[in-house]
Symmetry: C2
């Protein structure tokens, strides 16, 4: 029966008849020790059930082996996928992921940055928009590497995707099919740069074709399938409904298809629908969804790699933009 609940470094040292420093080295740089002493230390450590204290280690070494990640919400296929990719890439290097979400609330985002910084992380990943001044200021004085994803700024490493182009591709595809009246269902715009960019891109494509995307043909909805259905319903009930709809996210597009079908409107014959994201489900619904593919998992991997490189001091403020592309499936057809 040990006096202390937990064995410490010194306890192991005493038991093995060596100095604390030696035990420390046995854990971190085993090669520096004689096989004999190494074995003795390991034996004692096992016997005492020694487990190193991460806090003490972090305090002494200045490294926490922890990466902070801030996402809009975990409750989204897209962000969960990014996180999962980050997580496994980091775990492979011995890093853990500290996760915070802000639910599209600027103040919460700033708070999350502050909390993670205070808690102590070796690096920070910001997924999605980052717009508040306070947060930007905090990051500047953070003292730890930061990598942004989805959207980026020049003074910081980033792994991005051209959301504007995504909207542009989706719209151009429909225009090419002969559609002249195109509607769009988007997420609430105020704190969502990605949705704003996608909408702007679509609008631009229409303008380039001499067409228009009036506010009446844009429906803002919560980022759920129900939102997609509601948005579709609104657009279809217009005096002059669109012949094609762009979903700001695939979930919207899928909702649109369901809503149209439930009203007896055939997709793609009577209504074309195109999404943006290319989530797993999109390929498997009927009709399979035409969409703009965003390499979600790849973004996560690259973020992790970029951050690790920054931490090691190998690279600095590296900017990567990943290619995206239109995936034509069965939910779009020639318009009138």
């Amino acid at each position: 029966m040990a006096k202390r609940a937990k064995a410490r470094l010194v306890d192991v040292a005493r038991d093995a008849g060596v100095s604390p420093a030696t035990v420390s080295r046995a854990m971190a740089q085993p090669d520096l020790l004689t096989p004999d002493t190494l074995a003795r230390v390991h034996e004692s450590a096992r016997k005492l059930g020694y487990r190193p204290d991460g806090m003490a280690r972090a305090l002494a070494s200045g490294r926490t082996m922890t990466i902070g990640a801030i996402v809009p919400t975990l409750d989204s296929t897209i962000f969960a996928r990014v996180l999962q990719a980050m997580q496994s890439a980091l775990a492979r290097e011995g890093y853990q992921l500290l996760v915070a979400s802000h639910e599209m609330n600027p103040a919460a985002e700033t708070e999350a940055v502050r909390t993670l910084l205070t808690r102590g992380v070796d690096g920070l990943m910001l997924v999605g928009a980052e717009r508040s001044q306070d947060a930007a200021m905090l990051l500047r004085t953070a003292g730890v590497p930061v990598v942004l994803s989805w959207v980026g700024t020049s003074d910081c490493a980033a792994v991005t995707v051209d959301n504007r182009l995504a909207g542009h591709l989706a719209a151009r595809h429909l225009i090419g099919l002969g559609h002249r009246r195109i509607g769009m269902v988007v997420g609430h715009l105020p704190f969502n740069d990605r949705q704003q960019a996608r909408l702007a891109g679509a609008r631009q494509a229409l303008h380039e074709a001499g067409l228009d995307l009036p506010g009446a043909l844009v429906s803002e909805q919560g980022l759920t399938m129900a939102g997609g259905r509601a948005g579709c319903a609104r657009l279809l009930e217009l005096g002059e409904p669109p012949s094609a709809i762009i979903g700001g996210i695939d979930l919207f597009a899928i909702g649109c298809i369901q809503e149209a079908q439930s009203r007896g409107i055939a997709v793609p014959e009577a209504l074309s629908v195109v999404g943006i994201d290319d989530i797993e489900m999109s390929a498997h619904i009927t009709p399979a969804l035409t969409t703009v593919m965003i390499p979600t998992a790849r973004i996560g991997q690259l973020c992790a790699a970029t951050l690790l490189a920054e931490i090691k001091g190998e690279r600095r403020h590296e900017q990567t933009e990943l290619p995206i592309e239109l995936v034509v499936r069965q939910s779009t057809a020639a318009g009138r």
Copy 2:
């Protein structure tokens, strides 16, 4: 230009002309100080850009204000939802979430437990199965409160759901509709207690009705919609295909519906399909999915609350089982 990059507690103390202890109290128990000194400390802190060091604080106080969560994968609507619920409940109390995933790999799960424990967490949440002996042993000696979810054991706090009953409810519904030949698509069973229990429950219901669920009518698939389609395809291609299929998760059931429809098999007229989970999408597809509702978000909330209560020493090993229920929609109809 400060000598040190970061201001410390003592720097603030010096600047404000008080002792370090006073500064410490100013941050933790402001009420104990004179408004005057409190203001002076805050002023100095702001001036120096002081931010407390979480590591040092954790080492000295023994609390990290961090909760570890281990999930099978983040890349799943269900688990992401649980995590999101946990995260917001914890954030409200000032706790942060350290996330690890094991991708259904027992060794990885044990490793995750070890890592989080070493890293230092005030509590641990295990989402999904927990079967390895090593992990169980670690948890026993962990010294921090633990709460399990989805499945539970008696020697530990848990927020559970009766997965066996879920399978039972799904099967009984189909039996009640007159189906005699019922198939099931389940996840890979070896390390997935939830899927095992759901299958066992369904099988039991069939036995109780004098029916059978032979291995040939059970298809193991990866937990994706593609898996659901593949499983459905396999069952439909049998010499004597089932007239109804249970999806071990909603995603499977949705995949089954898509696969059936793409083969010209009408749901529910020619094939009934029932799922388990009740994800958002299930209510919005056509036909809307009949399923067994699992209160996912509620599980996450309760886990967080239970863990916090344990940490505060208010309760011990509290076991909660949440009710589930069949939600009848349009994907099931009378069988022959």
